[in-house]
Amino acid sequence: MSDSLLSRPVDRRALLRTGMLGALGLAAAPALAACGGGSAPGGSSGSGSVSWAAWANPGEGERYKKFAEELSKKINAKVSFQAVVGDYEAKLLSQLAGGAAPDAFYVGDGQMAKFIGAKQVSDLSDYLSGGKSPVKLEEFPEGLYQWCKGADGTGLYGLPVDCNPSVLWFNKDVLSAAGVSSDPAQLFDGGTWNFDAFTDALDKVRGSGKKGLILSNWWFNWAWAVTAFGGTLQDESGKIVFADDPKAQEGLGWLLEQFKSGNITYAGSLPKGQSGDALFLAGQLAFNNVGRWALPTLKSVKFGYDIAPLPSPTGKDIMPAPVATAAIALNAKAKNREKALELIGNYVSKEGQQFRLSGGGNAVASVKGLDGLATEGGVPAHGKLFNEVVAKGYAMPNAFVSKAKTATELPTLVDKLFKNPSTTAASFSEAVSKLVNG
């Protein structure tokens, strides 16, 4: 036995040796290259470059890169964009801990309060009111940036980059097949789009065997039950008060009843905004409660669709509705503050948003005066409603996100409440208020 092993043909050994050397060579090459290059980590090095990070799908990514090119010329610095394609918080926190975070970055609503408290982001109000800024505070609808203020209400630590209001997309074919004679947009134009009409439509759809509406535990999908009935979500101090508001109770009661009757299905805790997608695209769902981001995918479906705002008690008003938004903030340790501020200013100015958002079709501008974006291409037919909802809408209430722990606990609590068939408007309000008001 031992003979046959030791007397192997020589070339096999030689092959192995060459293989090992080759592998070592492969590994050595980049090491040598790195030694020579000495590239700087993450953020900008020196006064000439500035960078920002955001999440982006390919279409947006392309747009951002072009924006970076244009901006480089304008502010005379090398502007670069870092796309973050997954767990945004983990990456940002790693970069911040390592001192290698970009000069500006997106911040989601669940994280802003913490970043402000930990002094990781800088106050932008001086820049905004100064002469150099291409955008002024007044250009932003007030409801969109309250969550970017400091804990005591002063300062502004982020600017909304764009937004998406909570509206009802509907499938015209499903509705007419169910016997709903005028679609919701028509009803709204006619001044009769109230909750009775909505319930009626849902009943009919259920009767025809299709699903009416699917909601998840994201605040975007249920907070309108409070405000669309005319109730108040929070008072001036930011405290959540809908537990004591009869209109809010009426709204929540209505919502819970729809769950019970099967008109509205609670889909559980699913990735954000994806609860009804598959079904709506399959033409099995009458309504989908999402923002404008649904537009690009819908362009290729074969059924007729349009949008309507959430119903109102009067049938003709637009009530305050949730608006999903994110902000861009300035890294407190940015190496090149001046240029970074210019980046931010130009990012959210009218010109900047026009450049970033046109053609993509998946958001609404967060500054006033860019109504044309939402009606681009004439699709959906009632696109102008997007702007009107944003004007009256509200971003995430401060109480929901002022503590990081609350922000993560709230959706889980709502999930539990919606899954429990014995939840009432009162018990829901009490549980939520207890959690967020502390």
Binding site: E89, L93, Q120, P271, A404, D415, K419
Partner: protein, 314 residues
């Protein structure tokens, strides 16, 4: 009578070594060991020990990821023990492991045995089993969110058509963890299958045929020849599979994002939530440390027990 003893008997025994040679041998051994170990040791020290030490330090501190860390003593640990959600997550994790580990191993082993007789079709079948292993978590999420969607899933319609009530996989509390286990078994089967097949194929065919000619039944062959000879593989898969199972995270995250209900959460999910969403690195590290201790204990038990049932050919 074990076969390897029979083989040993037929090879000349190695003569004993004189004393001086032994101690020189020892030194040569240690140097040789160092040389062979050096790359991995380097990696261990640079990329593991430092971060692990840091994590250990955090377990006894309060740190939010930004400012300075303050000493916390054992408070992170006591908070964890008193937290009912953490307790639930621990139970979920154990339940997932109980379902998944034996599930994959037994099926993979059985299939590996069957595949021994598959002849020329082996490669084709094996490709089918391995297909799930190459799907990334995005693809897994895409596919299984569709398959678990109670409204439009083909699985649910198939079940309904034969009269079995189709569960709401991801929303029904008693089905969530089993659903994750199904996906994990689906993804892990091909990998363990390949490992078992590699192990089975490195058993010399003559062992089995000699046993057969000796008059052993199929069951005896399996139990007294095959299993002992691949017991090193079994031990390896069992240890790594339990370690991996206890750390399950990806599935919960891709299916439920950051707001998974209590019935779906696992230990590592909690760790990630506490660290990156709640900015509580101290608690996250403390929990990771506890997980580590549990795994150390479980692995230690398995390593100790290996003297009883694992046969190395030496």
């Amino acid at each position: 009578m074990s076969l390897d003893t029979q083989i040993r008997a037929s090879v000349d025994a190695v003569p004993a070594q004189p004393r001086r040679k032994v101690s020189r041998r020892r030194r040569k051994d240690t140097i040789a060991a160092l040389v062979f170990l050096s790359p991995q040791l380097l990696g261990l020290i640079v990329f593991m020990i430092g971060p692990l030490g840091f994590a250990l330090y955090l377990a006894f501190s309060h740190w939010d990821g930004f400012g300075a860390a303050t000493f916390a003593g054992l408070s992170n640990f006591t908070e964890l023990f008193e937290n009912p959600r953490i307790q639930r997550s621990a139970i979920n994790t154990v339940w997932f492991t109980v379902l998944q580990v034996p599930g994959v191993m037994i099926t993979a082993f059985l299939f590996a045995l069957f595949m021994q007789k598959a002849g020329r079709m082996t490669n084709v079948y094996r490709l089918g089993f391995v297909a799930p292993v190459v799907t990334s978590s995005v693809a897994v999420a895409t596919i299984w969110l569709y398959l678990f969607n109670p409204e439009i899933s083909p699985i649910n319609s198939a079940l309904r058509s034969i009269g079995i009530p189709a569960p709401n996989w991801l929303q029904d509390p008693s089905f969530i963890i089993p659903s994750f286990a199904v996906v994990a078994i689906w993804q892990g089967l091909g990998y363990q299958l390949v490992m078992f097949m590699a192990g089975l194929q490195s058993i010399g065919a003559s062992y089995l045929e000699a046993a057969e000619l000796d008059g052993c039944s199929a069951w005896q062959k399996l139990w007294h020849v095959t299993v002992p000879l691949i017991s090193p593989t079994i031990l390896f898969l069992s240890i790594t599979s339990i370690i991996g199972s206890f750390q399950v995270f990806d599935y919960i995250y891709v299916f439920m994002d950051s707001s998974a209900p209590d019935e779906a959460r696992t230990i590592v999910y909690e760790i990630v939530q506490m660290a990156f969403r709640e900015f509580n690195f101290g608690a996250a590290s403390a929990l990771a440390f506890l997980l580590f201790l549990v795994l150390l204990g479980v692995t230690g038990l398995q390593m100790a027990a290996q003297k009883r049932w694992v046969h190395y050919a030496e």
